[in-house]
């Protein structure tokens, strides 16, 4: 178990980060912290993917100096996935931030529980 963990230190870090992000997103009441949690969670997966595709001593999968030999580069697919994933998580983050701004304008709070209470109070009026 021990040596395995030491060998795959990036993966271990990724899983720990995933846990941190996941719990933050799930349990925190503050919207901004939730969004931060979301980003930690997504980034940890990208770390996981990138670590998986990395091969010691090889170059990034961009054709340089006309070398087309596959042995020269690292696995390109995880990199592609990470790029796509970053796009996805950026757009989701933007959407969440937009929602947060809207809610803050309307209820003057970032705390989700507080917002719920204010909404109910507003409806009772």
């Amino acid at each position: 178990m021990g040596p395995n963990l030491a060998l795959n230190v990036e993966e271990v870090a990724a899983v720990i980060l995933f846990g941190i992000g996941f719990t933050t997103l799930l349990l925190h009441r503050n919207m901004i912290k939730k969004i931060i949690g979301l980003n930690i969670m997504d980034t940890s997966v990208y770390l996981f993917l990138a670590a998986m595709g990395y091969i010691e001593g090889r170059a990034a999968p961009i054709v340089e100096n006309g070398v087309t030999d596959a042995e020269y580069y690292i696995n390109p697919i995880p990199s592609g996935l990470v790029l796509t994933g970053i796009v996805v998580s950026v757009s989701v983050t933007a959407l969440m931030l937009a929602l947060t701004v809207r809610m803050y304008r309307r209820y003057h709070s970032l705390d989700l529980d507080e917002i719920l209470i204010r909404m109910q109070r507003e409806e009772l009026k």
Partner: protein
């Protein structure tokens, strides 16, 4: 390659193109483009279905220049094209049925955005149905989430903002789990296309390697998609999201969005992991238990609900429980029942939401029950549609819901002995609870006692679009109920195509 094999790809791309074309257009123009494209997609999907029926086999379609293990693929079988047809028809009906409200509920300069979101949603739904690549599935799951969130919040009331936020948080948790399970799966197998992963997994299972990671992958993936589809107890966003969006959104969301995740899950079960391994992993038992609990708790919440939309939304919670229970039976019959119930629920729930809107309009736009007393007399078509939808959900023969229940019960009885009794008992209790809330509502809308005076003489004349949509959905309901045999045969054949 036959020209028809391009159709799945075409329909996904067409929806996106429709969204792009709609950007500079005004609301009316965007509406026309969207309606045209959605009908076209329905037609294309139907032709694909016929083509597959005719040739007897599904096909894969290579996207881009890279061939199979590296490139991206679509895969069309009977089940995919059947669901694509029904989904696009339901989108069409929901849009037509709530068209006038889209223009009144939403700020004028944002109407075209609404249609863009619908286009995007349909394209992501179709992509989730057709894709053969797990990462593509993830991307479209996220697109689906984003466009759904937009559809919920576009009305800009306080409630819908909060509902959208809660929906987003739950969905993101679900997609986070789904994403990491895909990443791990890639790490273990080195592939993203379903059948290649499947081959690797079979080898792993045979050699006994990586058992723990595989179990983690299966459970993360299942839990992630279950959260996204609103399985009890992850349903808390549903009532607000469905109750406060504009009615077309509610109809589309409740009947389609969560079902697309369920379908993706079924596809992963069969095409990626392999059904035997899933059964061995016992994850289906977890789904089974949560499904059963959801069937009861959803119905209980629906009985307690004080508003018609919340009642219908909670009933969705119960119906999703039914579907997961069918999956949890871990037999082919259970799976057929689950898929049939996806269809049943899609056509019934949209019918219920649209008709509830009609009743709500006839009651001064109030949604609480006392205002709805006698609403069926003020809007007869909506009343009749609600009645038929309710009867279908309750399970009267000749309507779709009865066949679902029959399939579930038969699957339970033919399946494992341990699961038979709990299934039957819960099915029965939940059916009785269904009856209580649906028929109680029906009795309320048909008894004008205590109806508020000011609505006494209200008469609602539905728009032609609404009439068309309601009639079409009613007919689809009867269609599923009366022609169930060919449809279940189709589903069974489709599931066998997976394996």
């Amino acid at each position: 390659m036959n020209f028809v094999q391009n159709f799945p790809c075409f329909s996904i791309v067409l929806c996106m193109v429709a969204g792009i074309i709609s950007t500079p257009l005004k609301g009316k123009g965007a509406k026309r483009v969207t309606l045209f494209i959605v009908s076209l997609v329905a037609l294309l999907s139907f032709v694909t279905l016929l083509y597959i029926l005719f040739t007897g086999t599904g096909f894969t379609y290579t996207m881009g220049r890279f061939p199979a293990p590296w490139g991206n693929e679509l895969r069309a079988g009977l089940l995919e094209s059947l669901l694509a047809t029904v989904f696009s028809l339901v989108v069409l009906c929901s849009l037509l049925g709530g068209m006038d409200l889209i223009f009144t509920d939403i700020a004028e300069d944002k109407v075209n955005l609404y249609f863009i979101l619908v286009d995007l949603l349909l394209s992501s739904l179709l992509a989730i149905l057709y894709t053969n690549d797990l990462f593509t599935a993830y991307v479209f799951v996220e697109i689906n989430t984003i466009s759904t969130c937009g559809l919920i919040m576009i009305r800009e009331s306080g409630r819908s903002l909060i509902a959208a936020t809660r929906y987003m948080i739950m969905s993101l948790i679900g997609s986070g789990l789904f994403l990491i399970s895909i990443a791990m799966l890639y790490g273990v197998t080195g592939n993203l296309l379903m059948e290649y992963i499947h081959v690797e997994i079979l080898e792993l299972a045979a050699s006994g390697q990586y058992q723990v990671p595989l179990l983690v992958i299966i459970s993360f993936c299942t839990v992630g998609l279950a959260i996204k589809s609103g399985l009890y107890p992850f349903h808390s966003w549903m009532p607000d999201a469905y109750g406060y969006a504009t009615i077309s959104s509610s109809a589309i969301l409740s009947s389609l969005v969560s079902k697309s995740y369920i379908f993706l899950l079924i596809k992963i079960f069969y095409c990626v992991i392999g059904f035997d391994l899933i059964v061995q992993s016992k994850i289906v038992n977890v789904l089974f238990v949560f499904g059963l609990v959801g069937m009861i708790m959803g119905s209980v919440s629906a009985i307690m609900a004080k508003e018609i939309y919340r009642m219908i939304a909670y009933s969705s919670v119960a119906q999703i429980g039914y579907i997961y229970m069918g999956i949890g039976l871990a037999t082919e019959a259970g799976m057929v029942a689950a898929v049939f119930h996806i269809l049943t629920h899609a056509v019934t729930k949209s019918l219920l939401f649209l008709s509830a809107k009609g009743l709500n309009e006839a009651s001064g736009r109030k949604r609480v029950y006392p205002a709805l007393q006698g609403a069926a007399f003020r809007n007869p078509l909506a009343g009749a549609a609600f009645l038929i939808g309710s009867l279908s959900m309750v399970g009267i023969p000749t309507l779709a819901g009865f066949i679902s229940k029959l399939l579930f019960a038969t699957a339970a009885i033919d399946g494992s002995q341990r699961k038979m009794l709990p299934t039957l008992i819960v099915l029965e209790v939940s059916t009785i609870l269904n009856t209580i809330y649906f028929l109680h509502t029906v009795v309320r809308i048909y008894t004008p006692v205590g109806a508020p005076e000011e609505y006494k003489d209200v008469r609602i004349h539905p728009t032609p679009g609404r009439i068309g949509a309601l009639v079409a959905l009613i007919l689809m309901n009867f269609g599923l109920g009366l022609f169930s045999q060919p449809i279940t045969d189709l589903i069974r054949a489709g599931i066998e195509m997976f394996a």
